[in-house]
Symmetry: C2
Subunit: 286 residues, 2 copies
Amino acid sequence: MPLINRLAILGVGLIGGSLARILREKGEVGEIVGIGRGADNLRRGVELGVIDRYEHDPGEGVKGADMVFVATPVCTIPGITAAIAPFLTPGAIVTDGGSVKEEIVDACEPLMPAGCHFIGGHPIAGTEKSGVDASFSTLYKGKRCIITPTPASDRGALEKVTRMWQLAGSEVVLMDPVKHDKVVAAISHLPHMVAYSLVNTVGDYDGCDENILKYSAGGFRDFTRIASSDPVMWRDIALQNRTAVLEMMDFFSGRYAELRRLVAAGDGAGLEEFFTRSRQYRESIL
Amino acid sequence: MPLINRLAILGVGLIGGSLARILREKGEVGEIVGIGRGADNLRRGVELGVIDRYEHDPGEGVKGADMVFVATPVCTIPGITAAIAPFLTPGAIVTDGGSVKEEIVDACEPLMPAGCHFIGGHPIAGTEKSGVDASFSTLYKGKRCIITPTPASDRGALEKVTRMWQLAGSEVVLMDPVKHDKVVAAISHLPHMVAYSLVNTVGDYDGCDENILKYSAGGFRDFTRIASSDPVMWRDIALQNRTAVLEMMDFFSGRYAELRRLVAAGDGAGLEEFFTRSRQYRESIL
């Protein structure tokens, strides 16, 4: 018997489509219903065999589903969850793929009708592409998926969501939503804020007689790649995880000010210590 | 006839060794003399055919060379150039591979005896490895090499150094030393300062009940790679290019403060504009 009888996916793109593909590949899902607004993308999803059928109306789409995966942009998740809640089948589990968790879990958990359960999730995987055509069944293989239960979470629902991501190939980590938001603020959101600032620094710089961007090479190219991520998505992440992002941005400012002071003072020993510390941190995670 | 009759290389590592290899491969050098302190590395250079022979004494090593390449750490270049100057053969050209140019060119140009010429250079290429074993003949292929003549530079010497790097496969760009230092401060030194600060931020962070470094993924891994570069080399670069590095660090601080303000204010339109600007800068260089 498959883990899921009917899976409803809101947002059949890279994230939603890839989960559909792997669960189907593993024979762990009966039927997959895609829900979204773009008919072309949904038809393409059927053509590719990623979904079996589709609905444009969210309430209609989730009917009879025992698992609902909300894979839409982070700021739309609470609204969509509110819209589908009245149409959920008793026992249904709703989970999401949003990269911010406290706001989403706080908003969505209380929306569930009796007997239905919301479990927040965040698969840490992605590429720069989007749409169902970009989806592939190994997207989650070997990646981490953070699931963020609360004291109110249903045990059985938590276990089923955990199992689903393990079947997708992910290493599941349980974490409370507030801690999740701090962790991703540090390892993902802050690096993006820094990369965007850095690329704008070099692009805006007018202290030479020509634009110096054209000399970019090596390390700087890595930053420009990160800083070309979707501006709308990152706007929403910065807004939704504002508290943790600001905390980490300020923590960075402290380190950066320390380094500036060492450079200004010509403090060779201090600089070497500062740079060596980074290298040791890297070695600690290799 | 080869471009160079006798090439003396001070520092037979990745940078020096790779130049030796490609010039020999192209048949553009008669004899190659390696100069350095580490006998094992130099013997290995002979074994590999990278150099023909070696000397430990710099003065002895440069005798009879028409081209001298100083490929030692950036802070040692002026001292080494002072040490070899009295032993140069009339007509000899001395060039270097240091990633900071104003201080080096200002120091080295006046050291040249009559008829000898110093031309500053900076091949923008490298890997994380070092030593002659890490050298390979295609290191410079398709990479940029910035050469920094001054109004006092000898035309013929400039042309010969330019030709040498073109033979190595590089695209040569001429730039005055001050501008060079600003450009590399922006596209290379600042990204390193930012990456080191970012890794230390995440590593130092103690606001969770465990070290969050272990969750690092994706974008953050790119930063940790940059931030694992040699601490001593980066100490020296930060010290030698202090003025330009501080200017760029402060310019970054302005952008970063702008972004922090937008996040704190929850200014969605401003955030989207800030992130879109980065993406446009990236597109302008692709």
